[in-house]
């Protein structure tokens, strides 16, 4: 799991590549979100385009990230969900929690 950080306007974008799974990817996501928040970010956009697998720990970490960012007065949204990741959010009903976008420009403008 590789995560790189970049900024557009007032939004920090985390580009994720690989698997958000127990013990590795979930930890990487947690660290990246906390690093962004500690760096002053309030608006986070997680780009899941390069993510192939999200297990239950990965889904849990997305939920934890959402809660952490929201509790700090920020917003966390998702963009570019591969079909199988979108399926997971649908099956778990987390699609009702996250604001999800297909287009990065649109996502950035939404904050």
């Amino acid at each position: 799991m590789k995560i790189s950080q970049r900024s557009r306007d007032n939004v920090v974008i985390l580009d994720c590549k690989g698997k958000i799974t127990i013990g590795v990817g979930d930890v990487a996501l947690r660290e990246a979100v906390h690093a962004a928040l500690d760096g002053g970010a309030r608006n986070l956009l997680i780009n899941l385009q390069g993510v192939s697998t999200v297990d239950s720990s990965g889904v849990g970490e997305l939920v934890s990230s959402y809660t952490t960012v929201t509790n700090r007065g920020g917003k966390l949204k998702l963009v570019n969900l591969p079909a199988k990741v979108a399926d997971i959010l649908q099956i778990t009903q987390l699609i009702t929690v996250f604001e999800v976008f297909d287009d990065e420009d649109e996502a950035v403008e939404s904050f």
Partner: protein, 147 residues
Amino acid sequence: MPDDDFRFHLSVGSRFENIELVQAVLNDTLERIGCGDDVRHWIDLAVREAVANAIKHGNRNDPDKAVEVDVAIEEGDLVVQVLDQGEGFEPVEVSDPRSPENLLNPNGRGIFYMKSFMDQIEYSFRPEGGTVVTLRKSLSGPAGSKE
């Protein structure tokens, strides 16, 4: 689909990175017997949860304790058994992770994954210790094969 005598066994130490080893062997095997991408993906997710539970809750991340994985085809069904060397644990399951009061709970979706992606899931406990989870999924019909 392969003959019913198809089976293999894997034994891995209790490290999360070993889930990738199980996944690689299982995925390669399922591809060779003709399972399509989608079916392999969902089976992979279910088996990941079983192995992760065995490592975390069964063997409590003790790398010296093994997780045994048995894979077989029985009457057209894929049967995966995952055994740990722990003292036996009650699988944790929230009532329904999709209900509004549970949606923001970061835990409790492992068994839901297994139930969602396999046809059947069963836990048993060996008298000498260790928990066995058995996952079963039909590979016959269009859902189990490439188009």
